[in-house]
Symmetry: C2
Subunit: 223 residues, 2 copies
DNA sequence: TAGATTGTTAATCGATTAACAATC
DNA sequence: TAGATTGTTAATCGATTAACAATC
């Protein structure tokens, strides 16, 4: 075949979200000096079904696994990173230089994932022209121009919920095609533009429900 | 029936995560002065299936909907907030007072969701005894005692990945039963303890994949 | 060779959607 | 009443899991 597999296959959303976990296990295996890792071992480490892991990995592996041995660790790491686009650094902008925005800018780990925040935007005058972790904060009025000029494709929203939609609109004007939204609001965007909600409220809901169910169980025992 | 419905029903993970979105739409409707909202209207706003919305809401609504009118807005808000535990403030601790940790501490919105961060912990000596947004940073050595004494049930982890597991272990020692994990690591905890991963790497994966697929489509047109 | 592991095809499971009856 | 909307039961869809064949 001419192309590597990673170009041909399409992973489901769920499978895609498991990839970072596979990478974590693989990196660990690499450090331990293993050359091959079996799907069974990965599944065990992550408490996942073995066949699930095998299928997920088969979809991105260029070499395939070797019976009796497993998958070649270094090669598989590279395949996944390739598939995930970790090797191509994508320039990104962030809007909302509050505490959360600043934290994301300072988070160096994102570089590992192929994301580089090259500029921040805010409406607050006191923030503008400041530098956060080497990244300049600019006025919102420059957003569209900046994005078009640098061909930015990813935007991060860390503004209060009521401001999020108008920020998203500007981003779309600037040609951005994928938005990472930390504001707890549903955004409306044209087809072709992806909104990935980082849904802190939903996560909190999971925590609360767990505690509630536990407490109810405890109460029902007492009854 | 003796108990309100919200105590009897169990929402799937997905349904639960939709609740904050329903709340958002309902609050908006409340501001607009509507007394009733139909499932169809909510579904439209959130681009969800109408029956899905109806089922989700039926599971938490104490009154049920009224044919021809819809659901009573204020009542439904209260039901959902009740179900989600927004009304009972849960004391929470946070470990890892770096930039992300500080951002979460300063984020006032969490109060709305029934979460109050009452203490932060860190190993860095320079951080200890500092106050962040009115929350004291303490030494890790006090974590277990503090949690047991105050009966803390929720812990937030914002430390580097390699430190996350040992932090989780301490939290479990301190009697914590739900962990919100921002470190990109799979944590191992006893049964009965929930780990909610806030999976930034997985979200980034979604963004990257979207851009990759778009670019591939564009290329295939040119070919 | 025998055994471990991959890869694939079929069965299961759970969530979403569709169809329809009930109600104000 | 007629029509809009809820609520429920059945059908569909997609992801996960199980069973089994292929391979080193």
């Amino acid at each position: 075949m001419a192309r590597p597999r990673s170009q041909d296959t399409y992973l489901t959303k769920q499978a895609l979200q498991r990839m970072p976990y596979y990478l974590q296990v693989l990196h660990q295996a690499e450090e331990e000096g293993r050359e091959f890792v079996s799907a069974a071992k990965i599944a065990q480490d992550l408490q996942l079904n073995e066949v699930l892991v095998r299928k997920d990995i088969a979809a991105v592996s260029s070499t395939g696994g070797r019976p009796k041995a497993g998958f070649p660790v270094r090669c598989l790491i590279s395949d996944i990173e390739q598939y995930m686009g970790y090797h191509t650094l994508k320039e990104t902008i962030l809007v909302g230089a509050g505490s959360l925005g600043q934290a994301l800018i300072k988070n160096r780990e994102f570089q590992m994932y192929g994301i580089s925040i090259v500029a921040a935007f805010d409406t607050k005058k006191s923030m503008i022209h400041k530098s956060i972790g080497g990244v300049e904060v600019m006025s919102m009025t420059h957003l569209v121009d900046f994005c078009l000029k640098r061909n930015i494709q990813i935007g991060i929203i860390t503004v209060p919920p009521e401001a999020a939609q108008s920020v998203a609109d500007r981003m779309v004007d600037g040609g951005i095609r994928a938005i990472w939204n930390f504001a707890m609001t549903k955004l409306t965007v044209p087809t072709g533009v992806l909104v990935q909600n980082e849904d802190l409220a939903s996560s909190l809901a999971m925590l609360s429900q767990h505690l509630r169910l536990e407490n109810e169980m405890r109460n029902s025992w007492i009854e």
